[in-house]
């Protein structure tokens, strides 16, 4: 039962442009959402998060948007840099309990 879905397995953007990674979820009880970035052969690193009481959280070039009615969140990276090339996982949890991850989206930023 995939409660968190990332329907785009890959995304390619030009350096300097915006990258938009999308994530959908089915469990309306999720109250905390996170994005992780993963390089090959390494563990995921935490990138940014958002609580269900907010609809936007910004940290430098990274902004996460949450649309609770649509059960959708997105990660915007502006401007995109070649070093941003990685696999991005979205994750969701209910009241600090175990986290559910999407399948990931591989972002490639071309110079």
């Amino acid at each position: 039962d995939q409660q968190v879905k990332q329907n785009s397995p890959s995304l390619s953007v030009q350096e300097g442009r915006i990258s938009i990674l999308n994530c959908d979820y089915t469990n309306s009880m999720f109250d905390y959402f996170l994005w992780y970035k993963k390089y090959p052969a390494e563990g995921p690193t935490f990138l940014i998060s958002i609580s269900s009481i907010k609809d936007k959280n910004e940290d430098g070039r990274f902004t996460v948007f949450l649309n609770k009615s649509a059960k959708h969140l997105s990660l915007h990276i502006v401007p995109s840099q070649p070093g941003d090339s990685a696999v991005y996982f979205c994750a969701a949890s209910v009241r600090n309990n175990d986290m559910r991850f999407g399948a990931g989206t591989r972002l490639t930023v071309k110079p």
């Binding site: 996170l34 390494e42 600090n96």
Partner: protein, 111 residues
């Protein structure tokens, strides 16, 4: 600061052989501990989590088991490996907050 270690980094094992992967966390007390598996081209699948010594919850029934003999030590084991056990195994920890922090991972290949 907190750090998380996993070893070995890579492992090649024959089918039917036993498995023991170790994870330790430094710089924190009574963390929640997690084992995930990332199969090739797939997302992160939660295998086990532990909220305290000797307390293990299993998410997916399979031939793997987990143990937590000490507060900051989490071990993933198998008595007999299957080909389908190949993958990238990740250990993670969290405190009372919702962010999980991942170790560097172990690449397991079962031949």
């Amino acid at each position: 600061s907190q750090t998380i270690h996993q070893w070995p980094a890579t492992l090649v094992q024959p089918v039917g052989s036993p498995l023991s992967l170790e994870c330790t966390v430094e710089g924190t007390s009574n963390p929640n501990l997690y084992w995930y598996r990332q199969a090739a081209g797939r997302g992160l699948q939660l295998l086990f989590y532990s909220v305290g010594i000797g307390q293990i919850s299993s998410e997916v029934p399979q031939n793997l088991s987990a143990s937590r003999p000490q507060d900051r030590q989490f071990i993933l084991s198998s008595k007999k490996l299957l080909l389908s056990d190949s993958g990238f195994y990740l250990c993670a920890w969290s405190d009372a907050g919702t962010v999980q922090f991942f170790g560097p991972g172990t690449r397991l290949t079962v031949l």
